[in-house]
Amino acid sequence: MDPRDHAADEQASDQRSRWGRLRGSDTSTLWVAIPVAILLAVGIGVLVTLTGVAGPRPVVGGIAFAFVTVWPCFGLVWALVVDRETLHGAVDRPEESVESQWYDAAAGKAFTDVLLVVGLGTAVIAFGGLEPPAIVVLPGVIVVAMVAFGVRYLLVRTRG
C-alpha cells in the first residue's frame, strides 16, 4: 500500500467514532437509536401496564419494564442502523481476524454445553416429577446459553 493511501486511511480512521454514523448519512446513530429505543421501551411499558402482567401494581411494573427494556432496545436499533465502517476500531475483514475464529469455536462448544445442561435439566424435571413454569425455564435456557458462550469465548481467547 502506498504511504499516501495509508495516510488517507488513517485520516478516515480519525473520522470514525465510537457509536458510528447512520448508513448513507453523516448523522450520528445516537440521534436515531436513543429516541427510537425510548419510544419502543415506553410502548412495551404501556403494553405491560394495560395487560397487567406485571402483578398487582401495573403502573410500577410498566415503568420497571420500560426502564429494563430501553437498553436492549437501544442496542437492537443501533445494530440495525449503524454503518460499521464508521465505527472506531472496526476492521475491513472481520471474518479473517482471529476473533472470528474464537467466536466460531466458542459458539460450537457452547452449543454442546447447552445441549448437555438442558438435557440433564429435562431429565431431572421429568424424573423428579417437577413442573416448573415456562416463564422460568425458557429464560433459564437463554441464560445458560449466554453464560456458556461467554465462558467458552474467554477460555478460547486465553488459549490464544
Partner: protein
C-alpha cells in the same frame, strides 16, 4: 505455524497495528499469527505474501 512475520515486519519498521491496517484485520490477529497460535486463511496468507513480496512458503514453515 512458525513464521518469519516479526522479522519481515521489523525490517519495514512497521508496528503490529500498521500491518493489521494494511491487511484489514485486527491487531490481535497479527499478534496471534506471529506467536504461531493462529493459522491465517489462504486469502490472508496471500495478502501477507504480496505485502512483503515473498512466497507464502518463505513466510510460513509447517515443519
Amino acid at each position: 505455524m512458525r513464521n518469519v512475520l516479526p522479522e519481515l515486519r521489523r525490517e519495514r519498521g512497521w508496528s503490529q497495528q500498521r500491518l493489521a491496517d494494511e491487511l484489514g484485520v485486527s491487531r490481535q490477529t497479527i499478534i496471534s499469527i506471529e506467536r504461531g497460535r493462529f493459522d491465517p486463511s489462504l486469502p490472508l496468507a496471500f495478502r501477507l505474501a504480496r505485502t512483503f513480496d515473498r512466497a507464502i512458503e518463505d513466510i510460513f514453515d509447517d515443519a
